[in-house]
């Protein structure tokens, strides 16, 4: 797209001349909880961007965020009003709108940082990637945990053979409850497109692909009864680097799990607890030792960085320098394809406490 190229070229030219690049004009489309809690604070904190608008169909949400973050922030009810006002957008709409709205921006040459998941459907993700590719526009995906030092450290340890031959991996994440969403999009399949796998699990699916390479779905069990799964177990086989590494992913929105990634190798076990952003924990084989490993650049005990701001500024850098963002659309497409494969293979989890007594109820019901 000509507009896209002109946008990108201006930004790149500023960079190349060495003059300080002016902040890029950015808008956030979708004013739900993730915008309130993460994207908007990151945008307001970064000198690399200038917020030109918030978009939401709900006047109440716009008012609420403006009251909290600044009454001068322009609010829009229709994202189409932004087409000639922005250099880039953060797309934080409910999952089912990512493809249609994201494609409209990309086709106009406007780079998109799309909140995760890109989609749970491969075809929608392909549509977004093709729109970005044909216009030479940056499409980044908001898998923010990729920016954790512990993620980069884990990959480094695997690449350097720290654990020797790998035997297996397993990941668990479960909480009694999930996100409090402003719109309630997470209550139905039509708007959320997926349950715990798409909402909580997509972060790990992306990290898993980053750490282990390609992954096949061996088996997928969930507790959906026509709605959104609240619990699921995926049996997987990572095939990257010519190996066949079995793995399991267990997710829950009804109860707490161990909430960690565990990688078992011949030399020991690595554990990365959920929220352990700076280090990994290593248990050498045949030893009682427990070691915390940091990157040499990390300072143990240092305050956490704002990873949403890191992600945003990585997106800006990709736009200005014409490079790939930390998480590309193609990588988002891979995890979307994996989710689609999981859902296609879904078998029902056994829940006797749900089904075993159902036969008692028809006799309590009125005759039809």
């Amino acid at each position: 797209m000509s507009d896209a190229k002109s946008n990108s070229s201006i930004l790149t030219a500023e960079r190349k001349t060495g003059s300080p690049a002016s902040p890029i004009r950015i808008a956030i489309v979708g004013c739900g909880s993730i915008t309130e809690g993460a994207h908007l604070p990151a945008v307001l904190a970064s000198p690399e961007v200038q917020l030109v608008g918030l978009v939401d169909t709900s006047e109440n949400r716009l008012r609420s965020l403006k009251e909290k973050f600044g009454p001068q922030i322009p609010g829009f009810r229709d994202y189409k009003e932004l087409f000639d006002k922005v250099d880039a957008v953060v797309l934080a709409l409910p999952n089912f709108l990512h493809a249609s709205v994201g494609t409209e921006f990309l086709k106009r040459g406007i780079p998109v940082l799309c909140e995760k998941p890109l989609s749970v459907r491969k075809a929608e993700s392909v549509q977004l990637c093709e729109a970005a590719k044909s216009g030479g526009v940056v499409l980044a995906v908001g898998f923010v945990t990729r920016f954790f030092p512990s993620t980069l450290l884990t990959r480094h340890l695997l690449e350097t053979g720290f654990l020797g031959q790998l035997h297996s991996f397993d990941y668990e994440f479960g909480t009694a409850g999930g996100w409090e969403t402003a719109s309630g999009y997470n209550l139905s399949r039509e708007t959320s497109a997926g349950g715990v796998l798409a909402i909580s699990g997509s972060h790990f699916l992306d990290r898993m692909l980053f750490l282990f390479g390609d992954v096949d779905v061996v088996r997928f069990l969930d507790d959906s009864r026509g709605g959104l799964e609240a619990n699921c177990i995926a049996e997987l086989l990572a095939t990257g680097s010519g190996r066949r590494l079995p793995g399991t992913v267990t997710l829950s929105k009804t109860h707490r799990l161990d909430n960690r990634l565990r990688i078992v190798g011949e030399k020991g076990v690595i554990i990365v607890a959920e929220g352990q952003t700076l280090s990994v924990t290593y248990f050498p084989s045949g030893s009682d030792l427990r070691q915390e490993i940091f990157m040499s650049s990390s300072v143990p005990g240092a305050p956490e960085q704002d990873y949403f701001r890191l992600q945003l500024e990585d997106f800006v850098r990709a736009i200005r320098e014409g490079t790939s963002p930390g998480v590309t659309g193609e990588q988002g497409l891979k995890s979307a394809a994996l989710m689609e494969e999981c859902y296609a293979k879904a078998e029902r989890l056994d829940e006797p406490w749900c089904d075993a007594t159902i036969h008692y109820f028809p006799r309590a019901l009125p005759a039809q």
């Binding site: 997470n186 209550l187 406490w353 007594t357 028809p362 009125p366």
Partner: protein, 388 residues
């Protein structure tokens, strides 16, 4: 008073508190059996995962907001009210719901109350729900009693067809009561009181759901109050020993007398009354006399006390000690159990009967204790409350 709508008209049912433990199971049963269409009223989207497994209808709102309540009730034929919350939810929220129910000509309003309306130690006659409630010393029970009165007032004055169900502790998968027992037994903080001989008033969640479903359509249910309990009633001994077997931990024992402390609102008053008694007790003075300085002061005070007339001494002694009431000391080992409500509830000696529900609703309590326990155990493993 308005007649209940014909059965066939009741189809869509608004369930408040739908993301809770009982509401969640009610939604599941309705979705799986298909006769009723649940509309889940939720205050928070964060805790609704269990019921989003089903393609049911949701409405997000706050019971204290009359407009959102009215929107939720519109198009429904009946309401099952399970939501709990702070005082404003319990009072203004319920009032909003009742007003909307009348306005929208709701055919059945099933209100879930509690046996706690009879207080901490219910009277013997409360075997039956027809027993009068003279006094309720349980804060939650008092709030629910106020709710019952509000509901019955709408039945009486506005013709709203209501049913009130009074369950005891509700157990089963996802039950806070079941989880609390298991977790406390594991920690060793839950004891069996007086060998657990009192009845343990329980209802399995599926049995309560059966009663709710019957209440939605049985003509006989209108404007009635029902206890809903399991049958047969088990003892606390069986209940707690079976839970202890699940977590493979032993169960401490404590005597009823060791738990007899004043209720929270009387702690200060009782403490002020008890302190002089302890201070003038022979046991304490004997210990304090081992400190030389205190012994000198005490001997001078005692000498002064002895110089008073016999009647003055008696009067002073009586005022300090509160008469002849003995100082009650508690076994030190029982101290850690005293503050826990799960111990006081074991002092309830009444077994509330669901005979009326059986007779008028056809309530059967189909899930027997052993079956319920097997399903609970399976769920506890699944929910990582017991080792795999």
């Amino acid at each position: 008073m308005t007649e209940a709508a014909p059965i066939k008209q009741i189809r869509r049912v608004l369930i408040t508190g739908a993301s809770g433990f009982i509401g969640g199971r009610l939604c599941e049963v309705m979705a799986l059996t298909g006769t009723y269409t649940p509309r889940a009223f939720v205050h928070s989207t964060a805790t609704a995962a269990r019921i989003t497994r089903f393609p049911i209808e949701f409405t997000i709102g706050d019971l204290r907001d009359g407009a959102s309540v009215d929107r939720a009730v519109e198009g429904c034929d009946a309401i099952v009210h399970l939501a709990r919350g702070e005082g404003s939810v319990m009072r203004a929220g319920l009032e909003n719901l009742l007003q909307a129910a009348v306005r929208r000509k709701i055919s059945r309003f099933v209100h879930i109350s509690t046996v706690a309306v009879y207080g901490n130690l219910p009277p013997p006659e409360s075997v039956s729900e027809d027993a009068p409630i003279r006094h309720c010393d349980n804060l939650y029970g008092r709030e629910k009693l106020g709710q019952e009165k509000r509901v019955l007032k709408h039945a009486r004055t506005r013709g709203l067809p209501v049913v009130i169900l009074r369950p005891p502790n509700v157990w089963g998968p996802y039950s806070h009561f079941s989880l609390e027992m298991v977790q406390k037994i594991r920690k060793g903080t839950l004891a069996l009181v007086s060998n657990g001989s009192n009845p343990c008033n329980l209802v399995h969640v599926d049995n309560l759901v059966e009663a709710i479903i019957l209440s939605l359509w049985k003509p006989e249910a209108v404007n009635q109050v029902f206890f809903v309990t399991d049958n047969p009633v088990i003892t606390w001994k069986q209940c707690l020993e079976d839970q202890a077997a699940l977590v493979k931990n032993s169960l401490p024992h404590v005597a009823e007398a060791d738990l007899l402390v004043p209720p929270p609102e009387r702690v200060w008053r009782e403490s002020f009354k008890a302190t002089p008694r302890v201070l003038v007790s022979g046991e304490l003075r004997q210990q304090l006399r081992r400190i030389p300085l205190i012994r000198i002061v005490e001997e001078k005070l005692y000498a002064g006390f002895q110089s008073l007339s016999a009647s003055t001494q008696q009067s002073l002694r009586s005022r300090l000690t509160g008469g002849s009431v003995p100082v009650v000391t508690r076994a030190a080992s029982a101290a850690r159990f005293v503050r826990d409500g799960l111990h006081f509830t074991q002092l309830r000696s009444v077994a509330h009967s669901s005979e009326k529900a059986r007779r008028m609703l056809g309530y059967t309590a189909p899930v027997r204790y052993e079956e319920g326990m097997a399903l609970l155990e399976a769920w506890l493993h699944y929910a990582r409350q017991l080792p795999a």
